[in-house]
Amino acid sequence: MTTKTPNQMAWWLVLPVVLLVAFNAVIPLMTVVNYSVQETFGDNQFFFEGVKWFQETIESERFHDALRRQLFFTGIILVIEIPLGVAIALAMPRRGPWVSVCLVLMAMPLLIPWNVVGAMWNILALPDIGLLGHSLNAMGVNYNFTRQPVAAWATLIAMDVWHWTSLVVLLAYAGLSAIPDAYYQAAKIDGASNWAVFRYIQLPKMKRVLTIAVLLRFMDSFMIYTEPFVLTGGGPGNSTTLLSIDLVKIALGRFDLGPAGAMSLIYFLIVLLLSWIFYTVMTKDEAD
């Protein structure tokens, strides 16, 4: 790594970014903070309520349930998608015409609008006319994701694996391709096993891209809204109501701005805190 020159004029280079992002982040965030400490009765009358909404949210069963479902969902997603994505990237050809074919086909799910992803899986899983639902029922599995919470969860997870594993594959593959051939030749001369090559060459070289993959997958799965909303609408009952679905129900459905504001802030802080923990743990070795 080259050393960086101290130069305060560099602020001018980052200024446009700071202004644009601040406009989009600071003003709305202040609005949310503002709501979160007030009570509203319509006609723009607001009363100061202090931390009442925060206390209510933290103590409410409903929030706990949504948070538990969210953590469960994100946990499963990470455990499936990261190893699967790395395995696929390792098995892909390194060069030749098939590389482009694989990459283009695999990237397709990433570029489909999220509501279309939800709608696609909805028509795929419909028990009577969908390919997946119909085949499962024909095979004797009693499957109806609009009625059975377990089936709804399985469909939701299958959808997310379908949707996002490719991102892990792309990142892991990009990391693998950046390893010079000389490393592999050296390993061959030393008679290293496949496992040793993976453990001591490929994995360390993929570490940076994998950190990004884990962080991106963590953040995005924690903020997921559109796909489950279109697929299951949070149902059956509340069984797939994840945090953001619950939040939108409160904010836009009932127009309870105070509780919604408080919940937004707590939600944001949880994402920040967990991301920070991931980031610190995964980059710890480099600091040593």
Partner: protein, 266 residues
Amino acid sequence: MKRFTWLVPFLYILFVLLPIYWLLNMSFKTTNEILGTFTLWPRDFTLENYRKIFTDPTWYNGYLNSLAYVLMNTVISVTVALPAAYAFSRYRFLGDKHLFFWLLTNRMAPPAVFALPFFQLYSAIGLFDTPIAVALAHCLFNIPLAVWILEGFMSGVPKELDETAFVDGYPFWRFFIKIFIPTIAAGIGVTAFFCFMFSWVELLLAKTLTSVAAKPIAATMTRTASTSGYELGLLAAAGALTIIPGAIVIYFVRNYIAKGFALGRV
């Protein structure tokens, strides 16, 4: 063992293609056939669903609106992220590390949190229901991502390149545009791909910030689903068409990804 490794990507690609096949299959069927019988390919092959989308302005305008804000967002994000990423990769300045982390935190803000304040903010400045409002709102998560990726690419370029150019008497902006940007063309391609992708697929903010004039295709679809009953064929055709722009973009950047990139700082 080695001979069967191709099976892994092969099976995965089959899994990826399965829902897409079903979507295409549906889009060529009539509504009657979809609801009536279970068929693996259209018996009553029809292009009616596609014809409707290409002739009805409420449908094709949805695509044009979506493309408009996605392209604007990609251009804005990459343009402002380029100098910023350069600053982060080359210089040390007051608060640089904190600033970098603050930028990343915005990538972690759930769009659901910002939906309502965004609506009020963009209404207040009179941009509600314009493509530029959506393009600016998407900067919230795309600019941090663009800076992050570009910084990684730029850190891979040796600093001697800059120093030589400055010794040769290049002014900063001339060096930046004439020499530096062509050097990291691959990085710009990858960044533009990710910006395009995340702006194209986002719906919650795009829907919140538009009503009629700038309605994105995704919103047209959800509204059709609720108002005109259950026109699955039409919905499937509209969905199938949303795959095309992304497929074109990935085709153009495939070589950059195949060549590999070791992202710099995380």
